[in-house]
């Protein structure tokens, strides 16, 4: 059973009073719960949030499944989201993503690689088309101006860093 940590609970409680209605706090609480649950939102997370926030669970699940940044399946330590829309698509975002997936050992999109390090998704426009092709790791600032070697090197660096600690 998933339980929010001490500060997590305090954070959610403060969010509930921050906006005009408590429903508005669902998104940030889901972000917090997702971070504390290892990067994905599952059934227990939603039922726990529903109790804590006193909002019908169906409404929270609606929000959790509507937005793309809440993962419905477990993700690796580094969830690499490669942008593949329009400009990035033209500049080779899709080929880059496939090459990096092979390098990282993930067969399908959304799978966690054997060593639990990587999960890949092809996401829609991230709003940085001048630096195409580019990607975002988890919810950190963007990694931009990539090409094939930089992409594969990035996978190797991340794997090394991931094993480090």
């Amino acid at each position: 059973m998933f339980k929010l940590s001490e500060e997590g609970l305090k954070y959610v409680k403060s969010e509930l009073t921050r906006y005009e209605t408590k429903q508005s706090a669902i998104i940030r609480s889901l972000y917090r719960a997702q971070d504390e649950n290892g990067g994905w939102v599952n059934h227990d997370v939603i039922s726990h949030l529903s109790e804590v926030m006193e909002i019908p669970a169906a409404q929270i699940e609606e929000v959790a499944t509507f937005y793309t940044m809440f993962n419905q399946k477990p993700v690796g330590k580094y969830h690499i989201q490669v942008c593949c829309t329009l400009t990035c698509g033209m500049m080779g975002g899709r080929e880059l993503c496939d090459a990096m997936m092979k390098e990282a050992g993930c067969k399908e999109m959304g799978d966690v690689s054997a060593d639990g390090m990587f999960t890949f998704s092809k996401v829609e426009c991230l709003g940085s088309c001048d630096t195409a092709p580019m990607l975002q790791i988890n919810r950190d600032p963007y990694t931009e101006n990539l090409n094939m070697e930089k992409g594969l090197q990035l996978v190797r660096d991340l794997r090394a860093r991931g094993k480090g600690h």
């Binding site: 059934h43 939603i46 039922s47 529903s50 019908p56 669970a57 169906a58 409404q59 929270i60 699940e61 609606e62 499944t65 509507f66």
Partner: protein, 528 residues
Amino acid sequence: MHSSTTNVPMVKIQVNGQEVEVKEGSTIIEAFYQNKIDIAHYCWHPGLSVAGVCRLCMVEIEGNPRLQIACNTTVTPGMRVSNVSEKVKDAVKWGLDFHLINHPLDCPICDQAGECGLQDQYMKYGRNDSKMGEAKVKKHKVVDLGPRVVLDSERCILCSRCVRFCDEVPKTSELGIFNRGDRAEVGTFDGKPLTNKYSTNVVDICPVGALTSRDFRFRQRVWFLKDKETICTGCSTGCNVKAYYNKEGVFRVKPVYNAAVNGHWMCDDGRDIYKFVNRENRLIDAKLVSGGKTEHMQPMELAKRLGATLKGQGASVALVLTGSHSVEEYEAIVSYFKNDVGTTQIYHWINNPDTIDSFDGILIRGDKNPNTKGLIEVLAKNGVSTQWKSLTDSIGTGAVKTVVVAGPENQALFPDMKVKISELSKAAKLVWMTAGKNSELESLTGDVALLPLKTYVEKPGTFVNHAGLRQKTQPVTSIVPGALSLVEAVQLFRGEELVAKPVQEGEKPNEIGKGRVHNEFTLTRGVW
């Protein structure tokens, strides 16, 4: 919405060239609905909020280049609206095509076939063969939403009626639409199934076969069923319902719109009330057990015999009545027992005294009898005021020898059935008139007479609901031919012959429900 009594100014508009008058501030689709003009629609429902998502109720408004949706455009005076122009027809044809491209070919196994919104409106507005060659979107089939409702997401057209219903009527918000785009699916959060007391209403308002009732699942095809209006005798609200039946009995009930009583809805308990009517739960033949000898005979024969023994017994006879019969029956039996039998020992068996006044704020009332008010009215008119205790005492002292019970029609609503049977069987002679089969009654020894009664679907009658509203019902069908109604039983007690009464004015079959605006599902088959 309609039932606001304040006189709201009326607005004159022209619909398809026909002059129409509508309350101010209402939408165009209400103008169509109130004047019974056909318009294609799925997500709008007279009892729910406007969603405007199915995009079928397109109308062309003069002076407006783009087609507008009728469900969200309020009426302005002198507006000229048309939904039969070529542009609208083509838009609706394409709108329907969009609904159908990912719809599974389930009609053979879908319970809604025959009253399905897609079938009906495709036949009325579509009739083009789809050129969709691509693979359809696959979703979950046979999803268990709760004890009473089964979901099939592939058939769902995401009109959000069920979600809005759960948010607005029972206000329990169990249903939600999860995921996004054409991967969206209706569902509950597993762990919180659809268990509110009005869940089966989502099956009625679902225009397609996505939500089907578990109780009616695969039991009968709807075109083998006939339907007739009656009321639900589950509690004292008296919701107007339509019973669906054929020669094998009654299969299901659906609510009928009646602004004064139940609006568009009915509760889940009412959905099971029809079950006690069918043959397998009914007392079929009359039985007389006296002096160790049991005789089975025709109910009419037993009634005549009882009439002979009861006549003129005076105060040694007691009558027990329940709130589940009609006013005419009460008048007949009470006057018979007062004048011919000459007793004033007439008692009112209240089945759940403690919860009798409870009310869940929507439709369910604690008083589980349809006609308690009617019985009280008749007893008062005949100056009868008795306490239940005096009956049990006088049985004890032997003052009362025979007890005649005009028993409960629906024994499921009488939890204290066993207690009363043991109490009343202490009397020397027991006459128990009921509609339902009951093993205790059959196993009673001593001087007992069992007389099968008709249920509310087999006899005409007037029922007075909690608010004093008198509702006349028409017999739906006959299930146990031999059974008697109390009126017939009293005629036989008096020794008269049963003669078919000519149909009075106002009781002709299609006159009963004349005033009511029908629920949009029962006006015509399926979504109109």
